[in-house]
Protein backbone atom coordinates (compact mmCIF):
# COMPACT_ATOMS: atom_id res chain seq x y z
CA UNK A 1 0.00 0.00 0.00
CA UNK A 2 1.64 3.25 -1.08
CA UNK A 3 1.94 6.01 1.49
CA UNK A 4 0.00 9.24 1.58
CA UNK A 5 3.17 11.20 0.79
CA UNK A 6 4.42 8.87 -1.96
CA UNK A 7 5.35 11.10 -4.91
CA UNK A 8 5.32 8.33 -7.50
CA UNK A 9 1.88 7.21 -6.40
CA UNK A 10 0.54 10.76 -6.64
CA UNK A 11 1.97 11.32 -10.11
CA UNK A 12 0.73 7.92 -11.27
CA UNK A 13 -2.81 8.86 -10.23
CA UNK A 14 -2.63 11.77 -12.66
CA UNK A 15 -2.79 9.38 -15.65
CA UNK A 16 -5.83 10.20 -17.80
CA UNK A 17 -8.65 7.65 -17.88
CA UNK A 18 -11.51 7.82 -20.33
CA UNK A 19 -14.87 7.72 -18.55
CA UNK A 20 -18.55 8.10 -19.39
CA UNK A 21 -20.68 10.03 -16.90
CA UNK A 22 -23.70 8.07 -15.64
CA UNK A 23 -25.07 11.15 -13.90
CA UNK A 24 -24.98 14.87 -14.51
CA UNK A 25 -22.89 17.24 -12.43
CA UNK A 26 -23.34 20.97 -11.97
CA UNK A 27 -20.62 23.57 -11.58
CA UNK A 28 -17.81 21.47 -13.03
CA UNK A 29 -17.91 22.44 -16.71
CA UNK A 30 -14.11 22.56 -16.79
CA UNK A 31 -14.03 18.74 -16.91
CA UNK A 32 -15.80 18.58 -20.26
CA UNK A 33 -14.20 20.79 -22.91
CA UNK A 34 -17.19 20.20 -25.23
CA UNK A 35 -19.70 21.52 -22.74
CA UNK A 36 -21.12 24.97 -23.36
CA UNK A 37 -22.66 25.38 -19.93
CA UNK A 38 -20.86 25.04 -16.63
CA UNK A 39 -22.25 21.53 -16.26
CA UNK A 40 -21.33 18.00 -17.31
CA UNK A 41 -24.27 16.16 -18.86
CA UNK A 42 -25.31 12.57 -18.27
CA UNK A 43 -23.59 10.41 -20.91
CA UNK A 44 -20.73 12.82 -21.55
CA UNK A 45 -17.45 11.10 -22.47
CA UNK A 46 -14.44 12.83 -20.92
CA UNK A 47 -10.88 12.12 -19.82
CA UNK A 48 -10.40 12.38 -16.08
CA UNK A 49 -7.24 11.84 -14.03
CA UNK A 50 -7.23 8.45 -12.32
CA UNK A 51 -7.74 9.84 -8.79
CA UNK A 52 -11.01 11.51 -9.79
CA UNK A 53 -12.22 8.70 -12.05
CA UNK A 54 -11.60 6.14 -9.30
CA UNK A 55 -13.55 8.01 -6.61
CA UNK A 56 -16.44 8.78 -8.96
CA UNK A 57 -16.55 5.14 -10.02
CA UNK A 58 -16.93 4.11 -6.36
CA UNK A 59 -19.92 6.47 -6.16
CA UNK A 60 -21.35 4.93 -9.35
CA UNK A 61 -21.19 8.27 -11.11
CA UNK A 62 -19.05 7.15 -14.06
CA UNK A 63 -18.14 4.02 -15.97
CA UNK A 64 -14.51 3.43 -16.82
CA UNK A 65 -13.16 2.08 -20.09
CA UNK A 66 -9.86 0.23 -20.34
CA UNK A 67 -6.98 2.67 -21.06
CA UNK A 68 -5.33 2.47 -24.46
CA UNK A 69 -2.08 1.13 -23.06
CA UNK A 70 -3.80 -2.21 -22.31
CA UNK A 71 -5.36 -2.49 -25.77
CA UNK A 72 -5.19 -5.55 -28.01
CA UNK A 73 -2.59 -3.82 -30.16
CA UNK A 74 -0.17 -3.42 -27.24
CA UNK A 75 -0.82 -7.00 -26.19
CA UNK A 76 0.10 -8.28 -29.66
CA UNK A 77 3.31 -6.28 -29.59
CA UNK A 78 4.23 -7.59 -26.15
CA UNK A 79 3.60 -11.12 -27.34
CA UNK A 80 5.86 -10.61 -30.34
CA UNK A 81 8.85 -9.31 -28.38
CA UNK A 82 8.23 -7.95 -24.90
CA UNK A 83 11.66 -6.40 -24.44
CA UNK A 84 11.47 -4.20 -27.54
CA UNK A 85 8.20 -2.44 -26.78
CA UNK A 86 8.42 1.16 -25.68
CA UNK A 87 6.13 1.03 -22.67
CA UNK A 88 7.07 4.44 -21.32
CA UNK A 89 5.48 6.26 -24.21
CA UNK A 90 2.27 4.28 -23.65
CA UNK A 91 2.12 4.81 -19.91
CA UNK A 92 5.07 5.65 -17.62
CA UNK A 93 3.35 3.81 -14.74
CA UNK A 94 2.21 0.83 -16.79
CA UNK A 95 2.23 -1.78 -14.00
CA UNK A 96 1.00 0.40 -11.13
CA UNK A 97 -1.87 1.75 -13.20
CA UNK A 98 -2.68 -1.75 -14.40
CA UNK A 99 -2.90 -3.07 -10.84
CA UNK A 100 -5.17 -0.22 -9.81
CA UNK A 101 -7.43 -0.39 -12.85
CA UNK A 102 -8.14 -4.14 -12.69
CA UNK A 103 -10.84 -3.95 -9.96
CA UNK A 104 -12.56 -1.10 -11.83
CA UNK A 105 -13.07 -2.66 -15.25
CA UNK A 106 -14.75 -5.81 -16.48
CA UNK A 107 -11.70 -7.05 -18.41
CA UNK A 108 -9.98 -9.41 -15.95
CA UNK A 109 -7.21 -10.52 -18.33
CA UNK A 110 -5.13 -7.41 -17.55
CA UNK A 111 -3.57 -9.12 -14.51
CA UNK A 112 -2.10 -12.00 -16.45
CA UNK A 113 -1.09 -9.64 -19.25
CA UNK A 114 0.91 -7.48 -16.81
CA UNK A 115 2.57 -10.58 -15.43
CA UNK A 116 3.47 -11.79 -18.89
CA UNK A 117 4.89 -8.41 -19.90
CA UNK A 118 6.97 -8.06 -16.76
CA UNK A 119 8.49 -11.54 -16.82
CA UNK A 120 9.32 -11.05 -20.50
CA UNK A 121 11.16 -7.79 -19.84
CA UNK A 122 12.73 -8.48 -16.47
CA UNK A 123 15.58 -10.67 -17.68
CA UNK A 124 16.82 -8.04 -20.10
CA UNK A 125 16.65 -5.29 -17.47
CA UNK A 126 18.65 -7.31 -15.00
CA UNK A 127 21.38 -8.46 -17.36
CA UNK A 128 21.80 -4.99 -18.87
CA UNK A 129 21.91 -3.27 -15.49
CA UNK A 130 24.85 -5.42 -14.42
CA UNK A 131 26.85 -4.89 -17.56
CA UNK A 132 25.91 -1.26 -18.27
CA UNK A 133 28.70 1.30 -18.19
CA UNK A 134 28.83 3.76 -15.33
CA UNK A 135 28.64 7.09 -17.11
CA UNK A 136 26.39 6.69 -20.12
CA UNK A 137 22.71 5.92 -19.88
CA UNK A 138 21.99 2.94 -22.12
CA UNK A 139 19.73 3.55 -25.08
CA UNK A 140 17.13 0.98 -24.13
CA UNK A 141 16.38 2.66 -20.80
CA UNK A 142 14.13 5.21 -22.54
CA UNK A 143 11.75 2.34 -23.27
CA UNK A 144 11.38 1.37 -19.62
CA UNK A 145 8.46 2.37 -17.46
CA UNK A 146 9.06 4.23 -14.23
CA UNK A 147 8.88 1.03 -12.18
CA UNK A 148 11.31 -0.73 -14.49
CA UNK A 149 13.83 2.06 -14.45
CA UNK A 150 13.77 2.13 -10.66
CA UNK A 151 14.57 -1.57 -10.75
CA UNK A 152 17.30 -0.93 -13.28
CA UNK A 153 18.85 1.86 -11.19
CA UNK A 154 18.71 -0.25 -8.03
CA UNK A 155 20.55 -3.11 -9.71
CA UNK A 156 23.09 -0.77 -11.28
CA UNK A 157 23.85 1.13 -8.10
CA UNK A 158 24.29 -2.06 -6.07
CA UNK A 159 26.67 -3.32 -8.74
CA UNK A 160 28.62 -0.05 -8.50
CA UNK A 161 28.70 -0.26 -4.71
CA UNK A 162 30.01 -3.81 -4.96
CA UNK A 163 32.80 -2.78 -7.35
CA UNK A 164 33.73 0.14 -5.13
CA UNK A 165 33.87 -2.09 -2.09
CA UNK A 166 36.10 -4.59 -3.88
CA UNK A 167 38.59 -1.93 -4.91
CA UNK A 168 38.65 -0.31 -1.48
CA UNK A 169 39.45 3.39 -1.32
CA UNK A 170 38.01 6.37 0.46
CA UNK A 171 34.72 5.77 2.19
CA UNK A 172 34.29 9.25 3.56
CA UNK A 173 32.67 11.56 1.10
CA UNK A 174 31.60 15.10 0.76
CA UNK A 175 27.88 15.63 1.24
CA UNK A 176 26.35 15.15 -2.21
CA UNK A 177 24.23 18.28 -1.95
CA UNK A 178 27.34 20.46 -1.75
CA UNK A 179 29.07 18.83 -4.69
CA UNK A 180 26.65 20.28 -7.19
CA UNK A 181 26.63 23.81 -5.88
CA UNK A 182 30.34 24.06 -6.38
CA UNK A 183 30.01 23.46 -10.09
CA UNK A 184 27.44 26.20 -10.40
CA UNK A 185 29.39 28.76 -8.39
CA UNK A 186 32.66 28.43 -10.30
CA UNK A 187 31.41 29.77 -13.65
CA UNK A 188 29.75 32.59 -11.76
CA UNK A 189 33.01 33.77 -10.21
CA UNK A 190 34.69 35.50 -13.22
CA UNK A 191 31.63 37.64 -13.81
CA UNK A 192 31.73 39.14 -10.33
CA UNK A 193 34.08 42.13 -10.20
Amino acid sequence: MPGYYDIDDIIMEEEPISVVFQVGAHGVGLLDPGSETNNVENGAKVDLPFWLAHELYLRQAVSISVPACFSQKTRKEIQADAACVDLRIRCPYFYELGCKIVPLVSDKSIGSFLHYAFTGRYKEILSKSHSASVVTVPKFSTRLTKEESQLFEAARSSMLAFKKWRLGGSRLEKASILGRKRKTTIPACPSTP
Binding site: Y4, Y5, D6, I7, D8, I10, I11, E14, V23, G24, A25, H26, G27, V28, L30, L31, N39, P49, W51, L52, E55, L56, R59, A61, G169, S170, R171, L172, E173, K174, A175, S176, I177, L178, G179, R180, K181, R182, T184, T185
Partner: protein
Protein backbone atom coordinates in the same frame (compact mmCIF):
# COMPACT_ATOMS: atom_id res chain seq x y z
CA UNK B 1 -7.98 20.18 -15.30
CA UNK B 2 -8.49 20.05 -11.55
CA UNK B 3 -5.37 19.22 -9.57
CA UNK B 4 -3.07 19.61 -12.57
CA UNK B 5 -0.98 22.41 -11.15
CA UNK B 6 -0.48 20.62 -7.85
CA UNK B 7 0.78 17.52 -9.59
CA UNK B 8 3.19 19.62 -11.64
CA UNK B 9 4.64 20.82 -8.37
CA UNK B 10 5.36 17.21 -7.46
CA UNK B 11 6.72 16.39 -10.89
CA UNK B 12 9.27 19.10 -10.29
CA UNK B 13 10.24 17.34 -7.06
CA UNK B 14 10.40 13.95 -8.76
CA UNK B 15 12.66 15.26 -11.52
CA UNK B 16 15.37 16.44 -9.14
CA UNK B 17 17.87 13.85 -7.95
CA UNK B 18 17.29 12.27 -4.56
CA UNK B 19 18.92 14.26 -1.78
CA UNK B 20 19.07 17.44 -3.89
CA UNK B 21 16.92 20.48 -3.28
CA UNK B 22 15.34 22.83 -5.77
CA UNK B 23 14.23 26.31 -4.80
CA UNK B 24 10.88 26.40 -3.03
CA UNK B 25 8.29 27.08 -5.71
CA UNK B 26 6.14 29.54 -3.78
CA UNK B 27 4.41 30.83 -6.95
CA UNK B 28 2.95 27.45 -7.84
CA UNK B 29 2.32 26.67 -4.18
CA UNK B 30 0.26 29.83 -3.70
CA UNK B 31 -1.63 29.23 -6.92
CA UNK B 32 -2.66 25.78 -5.73
CA UNK B 33 -3.89 27.30 -2.47
CA UNK B 34 -5.87 29.82 -4.49
CA UNK B 35 -7.36 26.93 -6.47
CA UNK B 36 -8.32 25.27 -3.19
CA UNK B 37 -10.16 28.41 -2.08
CA UNK B 38 -11.96 28.47 -5.39
CA UNK B 39 -13.05 24.84 -4.95
CA UNK B 40 -14.22 25.64 -1.44
CA UNK B 41 -16.39 28.53 -2.64
CA UNK B 42 -17.94 26.40 -5.40
CA UNK B 43 -18.53 23.56 -2.96
CA UNK B 44 -20.31 25.81 -0.50
CA UNK B 45 -22.49 27.44 -3.14
CA UNK B 46 -23.58 24.01 -4.44
CA UNK B 47 -24.41 22.83 -0.92
CA UNK B 48 -26.34 26.03 -0.27
CA UNK B 49 -28.29 25.38 -3.47
CA UNK B 50 -29.25 21.89 -2.29
CA UNK B 51 -30.33 23.28 1.06
CA UNK B 52 -32.35 26.05 -0.58
CA UNK B 53 -34.33 23.45 -2.49
CA UNK B 54 -35.24 21.89 0.87
CA UNK B 55 -33.56 18.60 0.01
CA UNK B 56 -31.83 16.37 2.53
CA UNK B 57 -28.10 16.93 2.19
CA UNK B 58 -27.34 13.35 3.35
CA UNK B 59 -29.40 11.47 0.80
CA UNK B 60 -29.72 13.79 -2.20
CA UNK B 61 -27.94 12.42 -5.28
CA UNK B 62 -28.73 15.07 -7.88
CA UNK B 63 -26.46 17.00 -10.27
CA UNK B 64 -25.58 19.50 -7.57
CA UNK B 65 -24.48 16.70 -5.26
CA UNK B 66 -22.06 15.24 -7.81
CA UNK B 67 -20.72 18.69 -8.64
CA UNK B 68 -20.02 19.21 -4.95
CA UNK B 69 -18.38 15.77 -4.71
CA UNK B 70 -16.02 16.62 -7.56
CA UNK B 71 -14.99 19.90 -5.93
CA UNK B 72 -14.54 18.12 -2.61
CA UNK B 73 -12.35 15.42 -4.16
CA UNK B 74 -10.28 18.07 -5.95
CA UNK B 75 -9.72 19.85 -2.65
CA UNK B 76 -8.52 16.65 -1.02
CA UNK B 77 -6.30 15.88 -3.97
CA UNK B 78 -4.70 19.34 -3.87
CA UNK B 79 -4.17 18.98 -0.15
CA UNK B 80 -2.42 15.65 -0.61
CA UNK B 81 -0.13 17.14 -3.27
CA UNK B 82 0.81 20.14 -1.12
CA UNK B 83 1.38 17.98 1.95
CA UNK B 84 3.56 15.58 -0.04
CA UNK B 85 5.56 18.50 -1.42
CA UNK B 86 6.27 19.87 2.05
CA UNK B 87 6.85 16.45 3.60
CA UNK B 88 9.35 15.24 1.05
CA UNK B 89 11.28 18.50 1.16
CA UNK B 90 11.32 18.40 4.95
CA UNK B 91 12.83 14.91 4.80
CA UNK B 92 15.68 16.20 2.66
CA UNK B 93 16.13 19.27 4.82
CA UNK B 94 16.35 17.19 7.98
CA UNK B 95 18.95 14.95 6.38
CA UNK B 96 21.10 18.04 5.78
CA UNK B 97 21.70 18.35 9.52
CA UNK B 98 23.49 15.01 9.42
CA UNK B 99 25.38 15.60 6.21
CA UNK B 100 26.26 19.29 6.24
CA UNK B 101 26.06 20.36 9.88
CA UNK B 102 24.10 22.87 11.93
CA UNK B 103 24.84 25.84 9.63
CA UNK B 104 23.65 25.68 6.05
CA UNK B 105 25.66 27.35 3.29
CA UNK B 106 24.11 30.40 1.67
CA UNK B 107 23.24 28.67 -1.62
CA UNK B 108 21.12 26.08 0.18
CA UNK B 109 19.59 28.60 2.56
CA UNK B 110 18.26 30.54 -0.43
CA UNK B 111 16.22 27.58 -1.59
CA UNK B 112 14.26 27.20 1.62
CA UNK B 113 11.12 29.04 2.48
CA UNK B 114 10.62 30.58 5.88
CA UNK B 115 8.86 27.64 7.55
CA UNK B 116 11.51 25.27 6.21
CA UNK B 117 14.26 27.35 7.77
CA UNK B 118 12.39 27.16 11.07
CA UNK B 119 11.99 23.43 10.65
CA UNK B 120 15.72 23.02 10.08
CA UNK B 121 16.58 25.18 13.10
CA UNK B 122 14.21 23.31 15.39
CA UNK B 123 15.31 19.92 14.12
CA UNK B 124 18.91 20.94 14.60
CA UNK B 125 18.21 22.17 18.14
CA UNK B 126 16.41 18.95 19.02
CA UNK B 127 19.34 16.83 17.88
CA UNK B 128 21.73 19.15 19.68
CA UNK B 129 19.93 18.90 23.00
CA UNK B 130 19.69 15.12 22.69
CA UNK B 131 23.39 14.85 21.94
CA UNK B 132 24.36 17.04 24.87
CA UNK B 133 22.15 14.93 27.11
CA UNK B 134 23.99 11.82 25.93
CA UNK B 135 27.31 13.66 25.88
CA UNK B 136 28.00 12.05 22.51
CA UNK B 137 28.34 13.47 18.99
CA UNK B 138 26.00 11.33 16.91
CA UNK B 139 26.82 13.00 13.62
CA UNK B 140 30.34 11.56 13.40
CA UNK B 141 31.24 8.05 12.26
CA UNK B 142 28.39 7.90 9.78
CA UNK B 143 30.56 5.35 7.95
CA UNK B 144 31.81 2.69 10.40
CA UNK B 145 35.48 3.51 11.10
CA UNK B 146 38.35 1.10 10.50
CA UNK B 147 40.92 3.23 12.27
CA UNK B 148 40.51 6.07 14.79
CA UNK B 149 43.05 8.19 12.87
CA UNK B 150 43.11 9.10 9.19
CA UNK B 151 45.39 10.92 6.80
CA UNK B 152 43.77 13.94 5.16
CA UNK B 153 44.61 16.56 2.59
CA UNK B 154 43.28 20.06 3.16
CA UNK B 155 41.48 21.49 0.11
CA UNK B 156 40.68 24.96 1.40
CA UNK B 157 42.40 27.52 3.59
CA UNK B 158 40.70 26.78 6.87
CA UNK B 159 43.20 28.51 9.17
CA UNK B 160 43.96 27.90 12.81
CA UNK B 161 41.65 25.30 14.35
CA UNK B 162 41.53 23.99 17.88
CA UNK B 163 41.21 20.20 17.88
CA UNK B 164 41.10 18.48 21.26
CA UNK B 165 43.90 19.86 23.42
CA UNK B 166 46.09 21.46 20.74
CA UNK B 167 45.57 23.89 17.92
CA UNK B 168 46.60 23.15 14.37
CA UNK B 169 47.06 25.28 11.27
CA UNK B 170 45.13 23.94 8.32
CA UNK B 171 46.50 25.57 5.19
CA UNK B 172 45.60 24.59 1.66
CA UNK B 173 47.24 21.42 0.25
CA UNK B 174 48.81 20.50 3.60
CA UNK B 175 48.65 16.91 4.83
CA UNK B 176 47.64 15.97 8.35
CA UNK B 177 47.14 12.93 10.49
CA UNK B 178 43.98 13.64 12.46
CA UNK B 179 41.47 11.95 14.65
CA UNK B 180 38.79 10.67 12.33
CA UNK B 181 36.01 12.26 14.32
CA UNK B 182 37.72 15.67 14.00
CA UNK B 183 38.24 15.33 10.27
CA UNK B 184 34.81 14.02 9.37
CA UNK B 185 32.86 17.31 9.47
CA UNK B 186 35.51 18.99 7.29
CA UNK B 187 35.34 16.17 4.76
CA UNK B 188 31.58 16.22 4.50
CA UNK B 189 31.70 19.99 3.99
CA UNK B 190 34.20 19.51 1.18
CA UNK B 191 37.11 21.31 2.87
CA UNK B 192 39.27 18.19 3.20
CA UNK B 193 39.59 14.82 1.56
CA UNK B 194 40.84 11.50 2.76
CA UNK B 195 44.42 11.04 1.56
CA UNK B 196 45.20 7.59 0.24
CA UNK B 197 48.62 6.40 -0.88
Amino acid sequence: MYGRRASQLLRELACSETGQLTAFNSDAFDQVIKECNEHNLQLQSLIRKIEDENLDIQTTRNEDHFGAVIHHLSLIRNKRCLMAYMYNRAETIQSLRWKVGPVLPQEIQEKLNYSEEECFKNHSAAIQSYMSELDLDLTVDMVPPKDPYIRVRVLDDIGEVCLGDHSISLTKHSLHFLRRTDAEPFISQGMMEEFLE
